[in-house]
């Protein structure tokens, strides 16, 4: 199969759906003239001059107008530039978009998408490095997608562009350049279906986004020690695929949940809590979680490396969960 980058996969999804559906338009800061600061829209350059729009630095309107445009019949795709700046227009999302349909008794179809980069890159520091997907899992009202491969990016995003509910898509900065197989034929990936990225029988590792790759790396290393890790990529957090996770834990009896965001209060806690509640008797060891330390992302490379988890962090947790059998 041909290989394209994560960023090209997003571009293709946008291009195909925009070609099909004239109500889709996209806007945000710096997307029209340079194809986005991480190049995600390079493939749209000059293609839909009226429907790819540069905006002022006005996050509350960037997000809030998506609601208005959806209500008036369009399918807006608003870019948030950096996940950190979701906070800058947060009220338009948390108080307006996420509540509107419910508060009005289901009067509206909110076909709108928010998307943009999250996560660390090379020392972008505290205000340009956040992963805050957990917040959108905690507050009800938006579907949350967190793809890890070009294949998933394209398939999930195409589904997002046909969803009648609001969707937020987090694209990890360090994945944009990642190449992977993507079929030429059209395909869609439904939300709520986790993907087993590697089968295994000893321990289940649940991860998303960049941490899927770190987990696969960890699994490879651990296999040398005779530990057979199953790596499950949730792919979407709202909804998340409980069934596949529970099944896997029933098989392996051990679970590690890994994400880049802060461990404290991160979504790994939700997954861990649900799993211990549902399949308590199957667990042979406490569920361990891997996440960032509870500080902000520091600038200096050795500090950033220390704060944010990587394959080693997953390895350590897996070793502990295997050794700590009860």
């Amino acid at each position: 199969m041909r290989e394209i980058t994560f960023s090209e996969a997003l571009g293709e999804a946008m291009f195909e759906e925009m070609s099909r559906d004239p109500t889709i338009f996209t806007y945000g800061e710096d997307i029209a003239k340079q194809g986005g600061i991480f190049g995600a829209y390079k493939s749209l350059l000059g293609k839909f001059p009226d429907r790819v729009i540069d905006t002022p630095i006005s996050e509350e309107v960037i997000f809030g107008s998506a609601l208005g445009a959806a209500l008036a019949g369009m399918r807006p795709v608003a870019e948030f530039h950096f996940a950190d700046f979701l906070f800058t227009g947060m009220t338009a999302i948390a108080n307006q978009i996420m509540k509107f349909r419910y508060m009005t008794g289901g009067q509206a179809k909110l076909h709108l998408v928010l998307r943009g980069p999250d996560g660390i890159s090379k020392s972008a520091a505290a205000q340009h490095s956040e992963s805050i997907e957990t917040i959108f899992m905690h507050i009800p009202g938006i579907k949350v997608i967190v793809p890890s491969t070009p294949y998933d990016m394209k398939g999930l995003f195409k589904t997002a562009l046909r969803s009648d509910d609001p969707v937020i898509c987090f694209e990890h900065k360090m994945l944009y350049g990642l190449k992977g197989p993507v079929p030429e034929e059209e395909y869609y990936i439904p939300f709520g279906q986790a993907d087993i990225k590697k089968e295994g029988k000893d321990v289940t590792v649940v991860a998303t986004s960049r941490m899927v790759h770190e987990s696969l790396k960890a699994a490879k290393n651990l296999s040398k020690e005779g530990i057979d890790v199953e790596v499950i990529d949730l792919r979407t957090l709202v909804p998340w695929d409980r069934e596949k996770v529970l099944e896997s834990v029933k098989k392996t009896h051990r679970l590690v949940v890994a994400h880049e965001t802060w461990k404290r209060g991160g979504w790994s806690a939700e997954v861990a809590s649900v799993v211990q509640e549902e399949v308590f008797d199957y667990l042979d060891a406490p569920i361990l979680r891997v996440g960032a330390y509870n500080v902000h992302i520091p600038f200096s490379p050795p500090l950033q490396d220390f704060v944010v988890p990587d394959s080693k962090s997953v390895e350590d947790a897996v070793r502990k969960v295997v050794g700590g059998a009860v």
């Binding site: 009226d50 809030g64 107008s65 208005g68 445009a69 209500l71 008036a72 009005t104 009067q107």
Partner: protein, 326 residues
């Protein structure tokens, strides 16, 4: 300008219907029949009535926490409104929203809003949609004097100006934001003066003069429909009632309120109509009685309607509700 008796009476009827609805709502609230809290539009009726008569059914508005008047003037069903105030299943939002969250997408009402200035970004989005769809609709966004100090105001006006969107920003300066006088919190003598900062027309008018409102909004709507972009209109009025029903109003003297009663829009317009010979005593009586009857029927409808079944709480968050872990 010359107006037909029919036209002028229609404005009068709208104001009377709003007033009657609001007085009943106040009464019902004080009787403990309505949950939550409500904000009355009494004394500000000329703005909704004068503005809305310029709009078509498929034009949009965004409303506020003080939204009953906007709804009625735009053509909402007051039975469904009243039922919503009661929290009944037959209400606009099936009881999920209450007074502050009423919407009616079928007549272009993109929601009341519990967040001050929450409607402005939504209006901007609807404006974008209209422009992209090459339609000639307009959006009227209502907001208070207090709202004009929120960042969303600034972002929305700049946004609509640069894209020349068909949005009329209609400021209801009722002299108070809750307990605070407009002069204490707002740095300009006339909120309309802020239009200069966005290179759009700004007009301050007597918001208790329904004809002044009508004419000013008419001009703005015509400009907007023909691609001339947004207008900021400040309609100066006075909030005769407390901020919400039950407000102790420690921040002003009763005497000040009494003085303003003399200037309330319905009495003023009535006088004018009588002078013009366009409103007989009998006609007047009929109008008020019809309004009363209509509201009584709405109350009856609401009181006879059932509360929603508790489990109904778990519907209407998403269109596609499958797989969600409520």
């Amino acid at each position: 300008m010359e107006y037909s008796k029919e036209f002028l009476q229609s404005l009068y009827v709208t104001m009377v219907r709003i007033r009657t609805f609001e007085k009943k709502a106040e009464e019902l609230f004080l009787q403990g029949k309505l949950p939550g809290f409500i904000h009355l539009y009494i004394g500000e009726e000329a703005i909704a009535a004068g503005a809305m008569v310029n709009l078509r059914r498929d034009d949009y508005i965004t409303s506020t926490h003080r939204g009953h008047g906007h709804m009625i003037a735009k053509g909402a069903d007051i039975k469904k409104m009243m039922a919503e105030l009661y929290g009944k299943e037959t209400g606009y939002c099936k009881g999920k929203g209450g007074s502050m969250h009423i919407a009616d997408l079928s007549i272009g009402v993109l929601g009341a809003n519990g967040e001050v200035a929450g409607g402005l970004p939504i209006a901007a989005g609807a404006g974008m949609a209209i422009k992209l769809q090459k339609k000639d609709n307009v959006v009227v966004s209502f907001f208070g004097d207090g709202a004009s100090n929120r960042g969303a105001f600034h972002e929305a006006l700049n946004w609509c100006s640069i894209y020349k969107l068909p949005v009329i920003f209609l400021n209801e300066n009722n002299q108070f934001a809750s307990t605070e006088r407009v002069q204490e919190t707002t740095s300009v003598a006339n909120i309309a003066d802020r239009a200069i900062g966005y290179n759009i027309p700004g007009v301050s008018i007597d918001g208790n003069d329904v004809i002044a409102v009508y004419e000013t909004v008419k001009a703005a709507v015509e400009r907007a429909r023909s691609g001339g972009g947004p207008t900021l209109i400040e309609a100066k009025t006075y909030r005769i009632k407390g901020h919400f029903v039950g407000d102790p109003t420690l921040y002003r003297q009763e005497q000040e309120v009494e003085e303003h009663w003399a200037n309330e829009p319905i009495g003023r317009f009535e006088k004018r109509l009588k002078e013009l010979g366009m409103l007989g005593e009998e006609e007047k009586k009929n109008i008020w009685e019809l309004a009363k009857k209509e509201v009584e029927e709405a109350v009856k409808f609401a009181e006879e309607s059932p509360y929603p079944a508790p489990e109904e709480a778990l519907t209407d968050l998403f269109v596609d509700d499958t797989g969600y872990d409520y």
